[in-house]
């Protein structure tokens, strides 16, 4: 499934990299602990979190994730968005809870993990 479709179906706000939404989503992962994400998220996954510090961008770049969804209406600082834009990482936001976002994506057929 393409990122675009996820954005539309979950009504996500696209904060950065509108031009990168054509990418294929390989799966999903959710955690707010960065080392857990480093250990378990795979290339092309969407990552759902409430972390908004700029280190989330480095994690997404290193793992080559397809996007980060920042849930629960958490505000994201401009400096973080700027970094995401430079690094080509789509940052998507939503006021919905993490649980709901993951549930909806799962129902859409986006499962955890494997590339």
């Amino acid at each position: 499934m393409k990122l675009n479709e996820v954005v539309q179906r979950l009504n996500l706000e696209v904060k950065t990299c509108k031009e990168n939404l054509d990418r294929e989503v390989t799966g999903g992962y959710s955690s707010d602990l960065l080392s857990w994400v480093m250990a378990h998220a795979n290339e092309g996954n969407i990552w759902v979190t409430v972390q908004s510090h700029q280190n989330i961008i480095a994690v997404a770049v290193l793992l080559n994730l397809s996007a980060i969804i920042i849930a629960e209406g958490v505000e994201v600082e401009d400096s973080v968005l700027q970094k995401a834009e430079e690094e080509g990482i789509p940052v998507l936001t939503s006021s919905a809870p993490v649980y709901q976002i993951c549930g909806e994506m799962y129902q859409m057929g986006i499962k955890e993990g494997e590339v």
Binding site: L33, L34, A58, E87
Partner: protein
């Protein structure tokens, strides 16, 4: 180590600087990809480098991250000036962390960094001296 290396790069890492954090490992990943190493090897090296870089930022005062690519192997060496580790066996346990609340709020401090490094590398060595610093060497064969 094999002296006849293909690529060697070093990065100074500043303790407590969360704005620059991750920059060295991102650059390392880019270079390793550029020289055409396969994506699993690049991923393992990137995760190892990232966790080592972050441990210097979080737990030490300053340090140097050096990556050496030789035929058949990548070595990642993280050397820091810092407090050292009192009990390595304990530090290696999943979930053990002495990270401060401030750092935990940013999503660090899961106590998974050292276990991740060990899992991602084929050879993992750690040497530390209290009050002096810590040296972590990771080798990945390709």
């Amino acid at each position: 180590m094999n002296k006849n290396f293909l690529l060697k790069m070093s990065f100074d890492i500043e303790g407590n600087n969360f704005n620059a954090a991750g920059a060295a490992s991102s650059e390392i990943k880019r270079k390793l990809k550029q020289i055409g190493l396969n994506s699993d090897v690049v991923r393992r090296a990137a995760v190892s480098a990232y966790e080592a870089e972050m441990n210097i930022v979080i737990h030490a005062y300053k340090g140097v991250l050096t990556v050496t690519v030789s035929p058949g192997e990548i070595n990642i060496l993280a050397e820091d000036e810092g407090p050292g580790i009192a009990d390595i066996e304990l530090a290696m346990k999943e979930g053990y962390s002495t990270a401060s609340d401030d750092v935990r709020e940013m999503g660090f401090g899961a106590g998974m960094g050292l276990p991740n490094m060990k899992k991602c590398s084929d050879k993992f060595e750690i040497k530390t001296e209290l009050g002096v610093g810590t040296k972590v060497s990771m080798t990945i064969y390709y």
